[in-house]
Symmetry: C2
Subunit: 229 residues, 2 copies
DNA sequence: TCAAAAGTGTTAGATTTACACCCATGA
DNA sequence: TCATGGGTGTAAATCTAACACTTTTGA
């Protein structure tokens, strides 16, 4: 930074820096986010994203990871920054600049117990209620980024169990993009990606006939990282 | 550390929030950024992006605009956020979280006087020196975002004079993407975008024959916003 | 036996890429 | 007259999109 001397003016002050996390999950054929009722004033009781302040000895990214872990008990989740939200009055109390992140989790990995303890709910991204402060804005931006990303990078798998059917993968893709796609064309594209491996296993829980289970092979992907859905 | 009273132990503290701006310009057939020598400690004398702190009564976006204006004297420039940079030690002095932005300017609009006063230099993005702190990282991320954006939104014009030749537009596109494209195919695509209007004017400064000057018509674009390069 | 989900190919149309020569002019 | 940058079209290849029926099996 090339900037002027600050010694004389109180023009600038330190501010609180927080992180807020948009947690995406795929459940019941729908893309959902995890939200809860805000437990502090101002805005107590309003629907809200989960967040926390950035500590003295952690980077902003680390703060986001800590918050995500405290909420899910899960490590190594896929997480990306959405951006900084810094309107002067975005927080009715003090000045807080918040950095939003989005994370992807496999809903089945998430302990229901923990969800209840935190008083969290999964809500369909198509029906998100009014959230505290600028959290709706954050969510929309997160969605936009995630939609973009999921087309060119193999992150869909972060929202699915390790073994999944092609129908599941397609439904996920449709839920994320908000539009249906042709089954045959979709499968044709999947077939070209060698890192989406067919296993010998069959899932019979969703159909009588049973569907082949697939898995994402990261090794194979790293050798030829061509993802395009 | 063990038995310390938690009410006195400040786990969280306010931090400085700054903005840093990557200013892109197109000059001499090259995509360049504007950098200067840092004028304060720590890091005095190192190459650096231009930045400033976020004031009490302005949003982070407004701070970025203020900083950009103070540097260029220009308003209404195209600017987008790159993201927040929050490593604990990114600033060797105090803890500072910085929000990076990139901006596009038409180099001809930029007062040389002002450039000299601030001690700034235009440097080719292909040969960026080592910058202060994490500024190289910011710059690379900005470039990546800008490259992506310029393919789908009509922001190229922000880097060109109001009237430009197709060769200029092509060279700009090539400089941004870092690869050459076919002239006939490029022009074919331009011809399909009605909002890139041919004028009756001829630019003779770069060739004997002279090249038709074009202009971006925002009205027409708004009616049919299909941009694809 | 039938309902429900799984699985499978082809073709037309659209898009993309590769490619080479003439034009106008000032020096 | 010639060197320089401006300007133009076609054909092959690739990619995309549309589309319908058969299979399996548990209830």
């Amino acid at each position: 930074m090339i900037c002027r001397d600050m010694t004389f003016y109180k023009e600038y002050e330190k501010v609180w820096v927080a992180v807020d996390v948009i947690i995406f999950g795929f459940d019941d054929g729908k893309l959902k986010i995890l939200i809860g009722r805000r437990q502090m004033d101002p805005g107590r009781g309003e629907w809200s994203l989960y967040g926390g302040f950035v500590g003295n000895n952690e980077s902003v990214d680390e703060a986001a990871e800590r918050v995500l872990y405290s909420l899910t008990g899960l490590r190594r989740l896929y997480m990306r920054q959405v951006g900084a939200f810094g309107a002067v009055d975005r927080d009715p109390g003090e000045r807080v600049v918040s950095i939003a992140y989005y994370a992807l989790i496999n809903v089945a990995d998430y302990d229901e117990q923990l969800r209840l303890e935190h008083g969290l709910e999964w809500v369909d991204v198509k029906h998100i209620p009014t959230l505290y402060s600028d959290h709706n804005d954050m969510t929309q931006q997160a969605l936009k980024k995630m939609r973009q990303k999921i087309k060119t990078e193999p992150i869909s798998f972060r929202l699915l169990p390790p073994l999944f059917t092609l129908t599941q993968l397609q439904k996920l893709y449709e839920a994320v993009q908000g539009e249906e796609v042709d089954k045959r064309n979709f499968r044709k594209r999947v077939k070209e990606m060698d890192f989406i491996e067919k296993t010998e296993l069959i899932d019979k829980s969703h159909s009588k006939r049973g569907a082949a289970l697939y898995r994402f092979n990261r090794r194979t992907y790293n050798e030829d990282p061509n993802f395009k859905l």
